[in-house]
């Protein structure tokens, strides 16, 4: 699972033998979500977790982010075991933009900085700059319910960037967006991240997204989740639209599909038997 992208001393995130079991929902059996997963993520990499529903990719993301304590094994960030949220090192973006509905866009970003512990005087400046970087400075005084889904996610991105963390964890951030918004968002993201050199973990269902944006793709098996394969995408950042229409892109996508297909079928089989 080692990547040729960087040398071992650049390892930022490590996952060592992580398994996680969820307590039984309605008096059934306990659910094993992850089964002895090992991996490494290098500084500056963008990786994707992809797999069928219920394969534990979001769970693993939350283990890395310190939101869940794994039942066995540990995640490491910068060599330290993760035992809780790391607000100065990890920022999250979720599927639904977790914006506070009663606060303005700018205030939402400032609240995030307040939580992180940034002194009051600096918050306004940092928030405004982050908003500018995603092109939404005109909406600083707007409220979330006045924005479209895509814009809300861009604000969420601005908030995550404003926290100036090394690591960005994204849990299906584009899932609720329509196709066209998703494409534009993807391009923006690619451009932005190329300049910032952040380490990113993207949980996604979309094959195209994973191939378009990421350096490595971890393919998960159906529940209980293990790493089935790692796909390498050797294309430099920022990724251009021409890459997306290239034959190479198509081939990689097909390869990914083949890897996933069996797992998705297995997951559906699990559903039918009432195991998931």
């Amino acid at each position: 699972m080692k990547s040729p992208v960087g040398n071992p001393s650049e390892r930022l995130v490590g996952v060592e033998n992580v398994s996680h079991c969820f307590p039984a929902p309605e008096g059934g059996k306990d659910v094993l979500a992850l089964d002895a997963v090992n991996m490494e993520i290098m500084r500056g990499e963008m990786v994707a977790f992809i797999g069928p529903s219920g394969c534990g990719k979001s769970t693993l993301l939350n283990v890395i982010g310190g939101m869940i304590s794994p039942t066995s094994g540990a995640a490491l960030v910068n060599g330290q075991a993760v035992s809780g949220p790391l607000p100065k090192q990890i920022a999250y973006i979720f599927q639904e933009s977790a914006l506070l509905p009663w606060a303005t866009v700018l205030d939402n970003i400032k609240v995030g900085l307040e939580f992180q512990g940034v002194p009051k005087e600096d918050r306004e400046g940092i928030a405004a700059a982050a908003l500018k970087s995603v092109g939404l400075e005109a909406f600083a005084a707007s409220y979330p319910h006045q924005l479209s889904g895509g814009m809300k996610q861009r604000v969420a991105l601005a908030r995550a960037l404003s926290l100036r963390t090394d690591i960005l964890l994204m849990d299906e951030p584009f899932a609720a967006l329509d196709e066209q918004t998703r494409m534009i968002f993807g391009e923006d993201l690619s451009r932005l991240l190329a300049s910032e050199r952040k380490t990113i973990v993207l949980v996604t269902h979309s094959l195209a997204e994973a191939v378009l944006l990421c350096d490595r793709i971890f393919v998960f098996t159906s529940r209980p989740g293990r790493i089935k394969a790692v796909l390498m995408i050797d294309e430099p950042h920022p990724r251009t639209p021409s890459f997306m229409t290239s034959q190479r892109f198509s081939d990689l996508r097909n390869e990914l599909y083949e890897l996933l297909r069996d797992e998705v079928l297995a997951a559906i089989g699990n559903d039918r038997q009432g195991l998931s």
Partner: protein, 252 residues
């Protein structure tokens, strides 16, 4: 299917027509029937505004007013504390919510004599009874509000390093504002009910007492006037609360 139908007047016109029709009926029946309990509308209006000149009646309205205000404020405070305490964690919720609902379901009228026995005949028992009616809707609304907080907001805040106190101040409390206003609206009606009931029973001053007095001395015109005024005030209060609630729930 159009609301106005074919050639029918707009609803609000018909509504007024219905009310006017009822008033006319009232007038006619009042003149026909025994003056004992069916005072005609005209008489009610005439002697009606006279009672408000009586100092005693005005004092009674004031008394009920401040007792209600106090009961309302106390209901809010206690209801908020109780609601937050129960909604604090899954455990407290599962353990104490059923208890709250059980208490809420008790017909409080049965323990009214007990309240008066404990708190005496004066304003204290009225306030207490009003609070005991009003705090439940507030608590239940607050709990419903906390339940409505999307867990992702809390997760996101925690991931950014928010402490428990920060989450409470920045997320839980602002989120509760609309629920609190809903609770306030329900509490105002409930507290009014409690206070009036106590006044009818304990009968020591206040509007309830006067309605009883007019009833026992067979003065239907004054009774109707007072009750009419009360009814209008109750409707106005309810409407005012409803508007407030709407104003503070815009982002919901």
């Amino acid at each position: 299917m159009s609301a106005t139908g074919k050639g029918l007047p707009p609803p609000w016109v018909t509504r007024i027509g219905v009310i006017v029709g009822l008033v006319v009926l009232w007038e006619v029946l009042g003149r026909m029937g025994t003056a004992l309990f069916f005072s005609p509308f005209s008489k009610v209006v005439i002697s009606g505004h006279q009672i408000f000149f009586e100092a005693e009646v005005r004092q009674a309205l004031l008394t009920t007013g401040w007792v209600l205000a106090l009961a309302f404020v106390l209901s809010l405070i206690l209801g908020l504390i109780l609601g937050l305490a129960i909604a604090m964690s899954k455990f407290t919720y599962q353990t104490f919510m059923p208890v709250l609902l059980l208490l809420y379901a008790i017909p409080q009228i049965t323990i009214l004599p007990l309240f008066v026995l404990y708190f005496g005949n004066g304003p204290a028992s009225k306030i207490a009874f009003g609070v005991s009616h009003g705090l439940f809707p507030v608590a239940v609304s607050v709990i419903a509000g906390v339940q409505g907080i999307k867990p992702i907001l809390i997760t996101s805040a925690a991931s950014m390093g928010a402490t428990r106190a920060q989450i409470f101040r920045r997320i839980t409390l602002p989120y509760l504002v609309p629920s609190l206003f809903t609770g306030m609206r329900l509490a105002s009606t409930a507290a009014l009910l409690g206070v009036l009931l106590a006044e009818l029973y304990a009968s020591a001053g206040g509007v309830g007492h006067f309605t009883r007095r007019f009833s026992e001395t067979f003065q239907p015109d004054k009774l109707y006037a007072l009750i009419g005024a009360l009814a209008l005030m109750a409707i106005a209060l309810n409407e005012a609360m409803r508007r407030l609630e709407r104003r503070f729930s815009k982002w919901r």
